[in-house]
Assembly symmetry: C2
Homo-oligomer: 176 residues x 2
């Protein structure tokens, strides 16, 4: 694969809406260029029906995989949790180093970093030595400072207003 | 069209990356539910090749229209500019009131508000009296306070780091 430009390390963080959605839009935009992405989901269940159906239209160019566990991750078996995280991160590393993709999205990846389920230094080292031209996109709340320091582009999605504040229930096509 | 839930007024603002991309992801997610969107672009040229190609895969469910003019809008004919803005806003109003859509995205709409090319009170009134169940999504920098006050969900995309700062040129599939 020929790469004329350096790939970017991109982080969408903050507690506001739009992090995963922006990453999804980005991989679809790349698909519009015929560029192949891996979209790896670290929290099972964070994606809902609408996104799942939408991404199917790009199955030729976006490899979508659920690697993670549920929102809490923590079962009553800490060893099993660690093993699940190790396995998920192993698959992500393979996608990053494979040279098969123009973009690899690690959706909700900050979660496993912040809970020390994946070693931060190992992750940073992997990002640093990624193939030239590969864009890596990380989403999730509270991105570690070291990751922000290394990143080329960081947007914080900041909550200004959230519908739950006004007491409106989750909306089909918006929340799920 | 049956609406079980109240549609939301959603604003993606701030100077960071991800506003349009999040709105695009949202309309694709809605399409995943079989819900129809209008995606109306108020700044011509703000969308690039990748997005244009990606959205074509949803041409059955996303009506994409370029309504606006170039980034500066201002030609040397102020009357022609006003007429263009009036015409664009007229089309947006028709989409909002038509009852044909579950979601209407006004991409980069804050621009025409902030330059007083569209009357803010007319816009707010149109949003306020939209059909029940219709989600309206507004993107653009510096959303007016009155719009934020009326909105149900507001995310500010805040620049933490931007690649230009590091002197990296625009990337295919990222910037365009």
């Amino acid at each position: 694969m020929e790469h004329k430009t350096k790939g970017l390390l991109i982080v969408f963080t903050g507690h506001g809406k739009g992090k995963t959605t922006a990453a999804l839009g980005m991989s679809m935009r790349a698909a519009g260029h015929g560029m192949k992405s891996a979209f790896l989901q670290f929290i099972k269940g964070s994606w809902k029906y609408g996104e799942m159906e939408a991404v199917k239209r790009f199955s030729d160019l976006i490899d979508f995989q659920v690697l993670g566990r549920g929102f809490t991750w923590k079962s009553n078996d800490p060893e099993a949790d660690k093993e699940a995280a190790r396995s998920a991160w192993g698959k992500a590393k393979t996608a990053i180093t494979s040279g098969k993709y123009h973009m690899v999205v690690l959706d909700e990846f900050t979660y496993v970093l912040n809970y020390s389920m994946v070693d931060l230094n190992d992750a940073l080292d992997t990002f640093k030595h990624r193939p030239p031209g590969l864009h890596v996109v990380i989403t999730g709340r509270d991105a570690p400072k070291e990751l922000i320091d290394m990143a080329d582009l960081v947007t914080e999605m900041k909550v200004i207003k959230h519908p739950y504040i006004k007491g409106i229930k989750a909306q089909r096509g918006i929340e799920f």
